[in-house]
Symmetry: D2
Subunit: 145 residues, 4 copies
């Protein structure tokens, strides 16, 4: 294990895409603000999958990652039928906490629409804190596997 367990891991980044549907828009003709948090979920799920194991498998290993904090800056609106790119990185990682950072861009032109972060506790099935084991740490630091 690294002497600095909370250092961001520069290699763990992932790009997801999502097409904006009617469902995601509101009457202003833009993506409703809460729906960016759904994009964030897509982003971090895809990133975990890219480590070689899925969040579903994490759950089977007895880990849950409840969100304890989320924040979002809205820079420009996404519109119906836009293809969005969600770039997800692991921001800060320790044995008991993990932060994901997100950038949402319009694929066409690359304009940055939204920047966000989610912070997750690492807990066991009963909801109690549970330290992430070596295998998962290595995987999430991009050094495993």
């Amino acid at each position: 294990m690294s002497a600095e367990p909370s250092q961001p891991s520069p290699t763990m980044a992932h790009l997801s895409t999502c097409r904006v549907t009617y469902r995601m828009t509101d009457q202003m003709g833009v993506v409703y603000y809460a729906n960016y948090l759904e994009l964030f979920e897509i982003g971090r799920t895809d990133l975990l999958r890219a480590t070689g194991l899925t969040y579903r498998q994490m759950e089977r290993d007895g880990y849950l990652l409840p969100v304890i904090h989320a924040a979002c800056d809205y820079l420009a609106p996404a519109r119906y039928d836009d293809l969005l790119e969600i770039r997800t990185t692991i921001g800060r990682l320790s044995r008991v906490r993990i932060d994901f950072d997100y950038e949402v861009r319009r694929a066409e032109g690359g304009e940055l629409l939204c920047r966000g972060v989610t912070r997750h506790a690492i807990v066991g099935a009963g909801g109690r804190p549970r330290r992430l084991d070596e295998g998962w740490m290595a995987r999430l630091q991009g050094t495993g596997g």
Copy 2:
């Protein structure tokens, strides 16, 4: 118990209200079509609560009501900030199946916006069919305690 267990119970009707939020609208400025099914859930939950026991209590009694069919006719659009009235009735009730009927109206003026139905199997915790007991039948028929 009635000799005709599937007869609709004329007394079991309930009126719920819901204010249209931005979240429920889409870029056409109207309530997105899937969101009426959320209104239906509010309607049938409130109706059950009006019987004196909640769906949460039904679950604790070991019953689940998975939806096996839903249908909706869209007559006129609901718009942002409209106060909606959802009128829910039990359409057809047997020991293994229950139908709810719904009418959604704009409170102001009373225009009928949407009519729908959901059909639910009555199953036990394991997902297997389970016959509704006398107490619940009586309650849902509006003749119970």
Copy 3:
């Protein structure tokens, strides 16, 4: 134009995929029933895109396709992280109305989870009925350019 303008067009089918997120599930651990209508939207949007023009372009041509009816049969539950396949076909097509049919399957194993239909009026920007022109008819019948 065909003498039977409402005949289904056997060639217009499209397969979309969608991964089930936490957002789509409910506390039963299955996809919430209203969310299948979102899958249907993805399906019909992708099908239109496969004709060579998008629904966004249809709107720019002055056509809207408001849903006037939707129905869904729920055969088996979709679960978190399932990869779903949405098979969309044009069921019935006339100059003033279009039906889409949907089948949702679990990609792994191919189990049929849900079958549905949506019916759409074809209207102009003001909401009044507007007959679909030859170009769009041909495109939707899979015989166009």
Copy 4:
């Protein structure tokens, strides 16, 4: 107008309630994290209504309040059928920006589940910044007619 236009207005607080539906839960059996932002929308809409004029009327006056920032701390989970109380206050108010603060509690017992904030730009119909007029300022400061 006050010499300190950005001071919080202690009188403008509002309590909304919302019953947790199946739709709002996820497979963990708790309210999905993005759905708290919908509760925040209910809260601030109700608060505006309590000033005597609605957000719909603000729009008719040519004002829009796009969200530019949102943040949320998740302290304890809300569960199916919980009655939630959303306490909304105006945090910081100037002619070009308005912050709302939110606390979500379980009505039974009063446990604090979630704390959040949304920041809104005040813009005109075209999306350009537009200074809030005296009437709306007074209303939002709780000193108006």
